[in-house]
Structures are given as structure tokens and as C-alpha cells.
Symmetry: C2
Subunit: 346 residues, 2 copies
């Protein structure tokens, strides 16, 4: 790493766009326009500038760019600290957000949910990002009001009770609840056991819990099915409940809103085969269902994230001008493999 050229003990200062301009024999504004593509550049000029950029391994200073351009090219993501739906699920959401951001040459800033509404104010007020994605929203969430007043797009993954004027996007948990119960009703079950989220989760007021329950209850009423709710609070509890269910009927019908891996493990342990000894449907990750020969189809967390990021960039591009009404990603089922083909719900 010797630097000859301008014979002196020059320290390798990181190059600026002025350096690139000089090297290419053009003005600084031309360098900027070559990089942004915001005005026509002659091929010859473009080449010279690009060469200079490569030769100097120039990278634009993000802060300077943000200051002058009023855009940070950064998306902030508010993540739950102790994710109730599991670290794996959380990472799937985040991973796809990261990839989608990078595809548009954006970066991702992580913010912990424990900063609460103040966190939103901070990242917006300091111009740390161009948009915010908020995960694990509550049925009543203080961040919602702050979001409404923020001068930048905020997209929620999840739907609070009062979603008016908000950009929300999520699985359609209500449709999911309805569909899963209807599915078992269709198979002739008059009684259906439901494994819901742990009491701790429900108590925390996470938005999807009541949404799912509403759908399931509606379908049960409609189809005249009796629902037996269980809210096991840990693996041993799940095993107890599942054993109870197995003992309760010939071929019981079970809906899994949560506790998918634990349930599938117990069933495997007991030698009970979904689709033969018990009818099981539920919300699952691909990775959870597949090892047991079950089928989980799209959408998965990454599908939600993808839609969320599409929405984020649409808002940033001004391509979704009136935005703000909420969309739903269809819910998904796990089904007994082969017997039924898995399909998504619209």
C-alpha cells in the first residue's frame, strides 16, 4: 500500500466528489449527476467519471448526502426486544427487510421497541432515516399516534385497533382464523380444539391475537362448531394439552394459532400422524412444517416483509400518494400433506 504519484508523505485521505471531479476533468455537479442519473450525461463524460470513481474507490459521504439531499437512504426498523412470536420469525422479517433495502441501495437502522414512541420521534427528528417500519404492534399502541404526526412514512407490520390513516400491512389473521376453523368444520368436526398464544402474549395486547380469535369465533358460530380454546404457556403445557386433545375423540380436529413446533413434536413422539389420527391445521413457518411432511405455503414472513418494503418505497417514491389505507397479506395454512393441497387465502 505505497502511495507514490504526488511525491510526498501524503496520508491516504478518503476521496471526495471534488477529487473525483478533478481526476475526471469535470465539475463536481457532473459527478453528482452521473451517480444519481438525474440528468442526461454524455457517454464519454460518464465513462471518464466512472473511471475516476473506480480508480479512487470513491464512496459518497452519507452524512453530506443526507444533509444536501434531504434523504438518508436509510430505513429504520423497530424490533421487539423479547419477540413474542419468536426470534426465528423476527429474523425472517428482518432479513427480508434488509435484502429489500439493499436492492434499492438503502441501509437499515435497528431501533428497539423499548424506546417506545420516543424512538420514533428520535429517528425522525434526527433525520436518521427516510421511513420507519414498526414490528409487533399492540392493539392499542402509543406509537400509532406519534406515527400519524411524523413527516415521514411509517409502515406497521400488524394492525392496531385504530388503524385509521395508517399504513399497515400484515397477514390476514382474521381470515386465517375463519379459514382454519372452516376447514375442520368441512371435514365434519363439530368440536375443534384451538391452541392459542400464551397468556403472557395475549395479556401484552399484541394485535394479531384478537384478530385471529375474532375470525375463528365467527367461523365457529357460522358453522355451528364448538371451539375449545387452550393457551398453553410452555412446552410441557403444550404436551399436556395435546395429550388431552388426543384422548378426547377418535380423530380430533386441532387448530394451531401458535406452538406449532412443540405440537408437531408431541404428535411425532406419540406416533400420531396428522391427517390420519388427528386433523391439524394452523399458522406455520415453512421450516416448522416441512420436517414433519406437512405443507406450509406462502405467504411467509418474508412475503410480508417484501410487501412492506414495496409499500415503503412506493411511499418514498411518491408512487402511493394517498397511501395510508391498510392492505392485508393473505393468511396461510399448514395442512396435512398430500391429503389436501395447501393453498393461500385471498
Amino acid at each position: 500500500m505505497t502511495d507514490g504519484a504526488d511525491g510526498g508523505a501524503t496520508v491516504a485521505k478518503t476521496p471526495t466528489s471534488a477529487d473525483v471531479a478533478r481526476e475526471a476533468g469535470v465539475s463536481q455537479s457532473t459527478v453528482s449527476y452521473v451517480m444519481s442519473g438525474k440528468r442526461p450525461i454524455s457517454p464519454e463524460t460518464r465513462r471518464r467519471v466512472q473511471d475516476a470513481i473506480d480508480r479512487l474507490t470513491y464512496e459518497p459521504h452519507a452524512g453530506a448526502r443526507a444533509l444536501a439531499g434531504h434523504r438518508t437512504s436509510t430505513i429504520a426498523v423497530v424490533v421487539p426486544v423479547n419477540p413474542e412470536s419468536g426470534a426465528q420469525r423476527l429474523m425472517m422479517f428482518v432479513e427480508e427487510i434488509l435484502l429489500a433495502a439493499r436492492r434499492r441501495d438503502h441501509d437499515v437502522l435497528l431501533v428497539t421497541a423499548d424506546e417506545g414512541p420516543a424512538g420514533l420521534r428520535r429517528v425522525a427528528g434526527r433525520s436518521l432515516c427516510d421511513a420507519v417500519v414498526v414490528m409487533e404492534v399492540g392493539t392499542r399502541d402509543d406509537r400509532v399516534d406519534v406515527a400519524r404526526g411524523l413527516p415521514l412514512p411509517v409502515v406497521f407490520i400488524g394492525i392496531p385497533d385504530d388503524a385509521a390513516g395508517l399504513d399497515c400491512l400484515d397477514f390476514d389473521f382474521e381470515a386465517a382464523g375463519r379459514l382454519l376453523v372452516a376447514e375442520l368444520a368441512g371435514l365434519g368436526h363439530r368440536t375443534v380444539d384451538v391452541l392459542g398464544w400464551r397468556p403472557a402474549v395475549a395479556a401484552q395486547g399484541i394485535n394479531y391475537v384478537p384478530r385471529f380469535e375474532r375470525g375463528a369465533r365467527a367461523a365457529a358460530e357460522e358453522r355451528d362448531v364448538e371451539l375449545r380454546w387452550h393457551r398453553p404457556s410452555g412446552e410441557p403445557d403444550v404436551r399436556r394439552v395435546v395429550d388431552g386433545v388426543l384422548a378426547s375423540g377418535d380423530v380430533p380436529g386441532l387448530v394451531l394459532a401458535a406452538a406449532v413446533p412443540e405440537t408437531l413434536r408431541v404428535l411425532a413422539d406419540r406416533g400420531r400422524l396428522p391427517g390420519r389420527d388427528i386433523d391439524v391445521v394452523g399458522l406455520a413457518l415453512d421450516a416448522e412444517a416441512e420436517p414433519y411432511g406437512l405443507t406450509a405455503t406462502s405467504p411467509q414472513p418474508r412475503d410480508v416483509s417484501r410487501r412492506v418494503m414495496e409499500r415503503v418505497f412506493a411511499l418514498l417514491d411518491g408512487a402511493a400518494p394517498r397511501g395510508r389505507e391498510h392492505e392485508l397479506v393473505p393468511a396461510v395454512l399448514v395442512r396435512r400433506a398430500s391429503t389436501h393441497s395447501a393453498r393461500a387465502v385471498g
Copy 2:
């Protein structure tokens, strides 16, 4: 949200430090110094400025600050895309990094490992961060060479083969391997089964695999113990291996480098009690060991993260001037509860 005051349809522009200065009747530099604490300010002035800040809900523009101050107050963290050691572990590392960063009023930028060495160049070149933390480093990792040439601190969680001149920090996996084997040898085991990482992980060249194996092998040789390595590639495989181990002796000795939850589940299923029917020691998260009445003590991922962030800030503060030699966080054991008291290894 009406804005009277200067009677006009003024849009609520986000306030700048110049606005604060005017409001407080001081100069802009004084506002800056009040915020940074870099020079003495009279109590009276400080109060007036602070009031103005509060009244205007002023937040400094991060980009402007980075540009003028040559510091971004941001730490970049490079995370693996498909974390081999699990999403839960990963999130524990990240969570503590986030919290430690916020305690120092810093933010965290997430970078995916699939950007490779270019990702390091990018975040450094664009001045997106003041320091970088790299997770899941390989035994031979191209990011290592890039890191050496970077004008900002890079701290690795994990130790590559060539760690010369690097800031690395990690569990002491070699000591752990040595200690776990020695522990079982001390209990009289002449043969010890080891559950290692999946072949896929080992093939990927993750740094801690050979480190652990080296330690375990050394202790086995020293204590004249026979090691039987297993590298199960999934839960069913783990069950098979564990069943084999259970059948192999009266009270077998088992070391868990990986697959802790799966193993503890099988043992529970089989009604085999650690400490009575089998001697089990290994590397575990608190959350993995506790439900089975076993004891995992510090250090946990959060302890490593904490040390990593201490190191990051020490480097940023110039408090670790010659830095660069690597430190190890002591390794941890899970033990049979009550029988042994868990202790950390120095």
C-alpha cells in the same frame, strides 16, 4: 397543532440549532457546546438553551453532525443471513449490542454478511458508522484483510485462524472443549460422546468449530479418554445419536457442543435424568438449560456482546490505543443442577 406566534401560514419546519440559538439568545456554537459538554457553560446559559431545546423539541440533524464532527454515532453490525448457531442466539447478541449502543446514544446499522468484504468497505467508505462489529467469522475470512486496512475499529465476535492485529472477542471455545471433557473424565468416564455441530456448519468453516474440537481433543489425550464424535444434522438425527449413547453404557458421559435443546428434549422423553442416568455437560443458553432444571451460568451471548461493545467504545474513545490483541470471554458449562455448582472457566 395551530401555530400562532408569527402570524402567517408557516409550515412547521423542523427546528435547527440556529433556531434554538435565536430562541435562547445565544450563539449557535453555544448550543452545540451545551449539547456536547465539550466546554464549560454557565448554569444560566445552559438552562436557557435547554429550555429552548425542549420548547422547540429540537433534535440535531445526524447527517450534519456527522459531516461536521467526523463521527456518526453509529455502529455497524454484520449479521449472518442464515445464522448457523440459530436465530435466538443471534438475536441475543444483537439485542445487547443495541442496548449498549443506546446507552452511549449511538445507533446500530445492520449489514448482512452476504455483502462480504465489500460491505465493510461500503459502510466505512460512506462514513455510515464509526466502528463495525462482525459476527460469525470464518476460520479463514476475507473480511479480516479488509478490516485490517480500514480506518475505523472493527471488532470480531469470533477468532479466525489469523487473528494477528485484529480485535477479536469471543467465548473461549478451546477452554470450553478442554473443560467439558475434563469434567467428565473427572467423573470417571473413560469414553465420552461428543455432539458436535452439524456437518454443514463445520464445512462452512466457522471459527468456533475447530477451536472447540482442539480443546476437547487436547483434554482427551491428556486424560486418556476416548472421544466419540457425532455430528447429527437435524433433530431426528440427534434423537438417534442420543438413543445410541443411552444404550452404550451404564451412565454414559455426553458433551454437547451443539444440539442442546434437542438433546434435553430426548432425554426428558426417555425419562432419563441428567446427573442420574447420564452425565451431560455442554454449551448452553440459560433459556435452554433452565426448563430442564439444569444450570447454565454466565457468560451468555449478552456477556460477549457487552464486552464487545466495551471494546468498541474503548477504541472510539482512544482508551484502548494499541488495542488489537484479542481477549476471550470465559467459556461456560451446563451442568447437572444441584450435583455440581456451575462455574465459569477463566
